[in-house]
């Protein structure tokens, strides 16, 4: 497209997966790259906020205590109690940690000067998913016993016998492969795609700004869209943190369920 290629400057370099790789800040190790530093920073941030929120717990809460209690109450009630049911209290710390950790790291994607959602590196969602995976299997095996758990998973009662041929491999694949894969990929994909689109619209706008006048006008649209998309990205980030935690709670509830 000749409209986008100038005579003396190169064509537009579209963002790709290489934009998510960072050099290490000092030294040579992978532990000093930007995503890892951001993850550590997010843990410090969350701990400071919630320690400050629960420090002097008054009956009439102060503002920071109210904010902390609102987040905790949301995870405890909407995600813990409504989904898991009677034994929810021992899973609330786990779910609360996942929710705040993913939410903070997602929000890093739109904060100026940070602007990198650490969950867009596949390693971090995979790490959280491993914990969720081990949790829901361990809870089910501890409650029902390994043999009964697998038997109820593959040979559900109340289904005609010939369906077991199709159902058993499908259920095994679902519980052991597809659930962790989609759980991690959903979070990773949303963060990756959102960050990529933000880079694309911002860099595209900047590229078009150096061109003819009509392109300068189009670049304003590009910048405006990247601004609007930032707000949409905020919604998606909160939603993805909520969905991850909700699905983890659902899998744990399914592991604890008595019927089938």
């Amino acid at each position: 497209m000749n409209l986008l290629e100038g005579a003396v400057r190169p064509g537009f370099r579209a963002p790709d997966a290489g934009d998510f790789v960072f050099p290490s800040i000092f030294g040579d190790s992978v532990l000093t790259t930007k995503p890892v530093v951001l993850v550590f920073f997010s843990v410090i941030l969350i701990s400071t906020f919630f320690i400050a929120s629960s420090r002097k717990a008054l009956v009439v809460p102060s503002k920071i205590q109210f904010a902390g209690e609102m987040v905790y109450g949301f995870v405890r009630n909407e995600i813990g109690k409504d989904v898991i049911g009677s034994e929810f209290q021992r899973f609330v710390p786990f779910l609360f940690t996942i929710f705040t950790f993913i939410l903070t790291n997602n929000i890093f994607g739109i904060i100026p000067l940070i602007q990198f959602p650490t969950m867009s590196r596949i390693g971090f969602p995979v790490a959280i998913t491993i914990f969720v995976y081990l949790t829901y299997h361990f809870v089910a095996i501890r409650k029902h016993g390994l043999f009964k758990y697998l038997k109820d998973m593959c040979f559900m009662p109340g289904i005609p016998k010939f369906m077991y041929v199709i159902l058993a491999p499908l259920e095994l694949a679902t519980y052991f492969l597809i659930r962790p894969l989609t759980l991690a990929m959903r979070l990773f994909g949303n963060m990756f795609a959102g960050h990529l689109l933000l880079i694309l619209f911002t860099l595209g706008g900047e590229y078009m700004l150096h061109d003819k006048l009509i392109m300068k006008i189009f670049s304003l649209f590009s910048f405006g869209f990247s601004l609007g998309f930032t707000f949409f990205e905020f919604f998606v980030q909160c939603l993805q943190a909520y969905i991850f935690t909700l699905l983890s709670a659902l899998y744990i509830a399914g592991a604890l369920a008595d019927e089938h």
């Binding site: 959903r186 994909g189 993805q240 969905i243």
Partner: protein, 68 residues
């Protein structure tokens, strides 16, 4: 014509989730229209269903970029 097959794959992979999102939110709007008190009960279900359906479209987009 230039481009990658991945982009075509991504385009195809958004058909299903697009229809699914429409169905999910049509059901949600219908439910809230018939009984406005059910709004707070149906809303988490609507967003959960939407995220589950959207996951496959997002997979298509990501794999189009990652597997070049």
């Amino acid at each position: 014509m230039t481009g990658t097959l991945g982009i075509v794959g991504f385009g195809l992979s958004t058909i299903g989730p697009g229809i699914a999102t429409g169905l999910i939110f049509a059901a949600y709007i219908n439910g809230v229209a018939r009984q406005p008190e059910a709004r707070s009960i149906l809303q988490p279900l609507a967003f959960l269903g939407f995220a589950l359906a959207e996951a496959l479209a997002i997979l298509g987009l990501v794999l189009a970029f990652v597997l070049k």
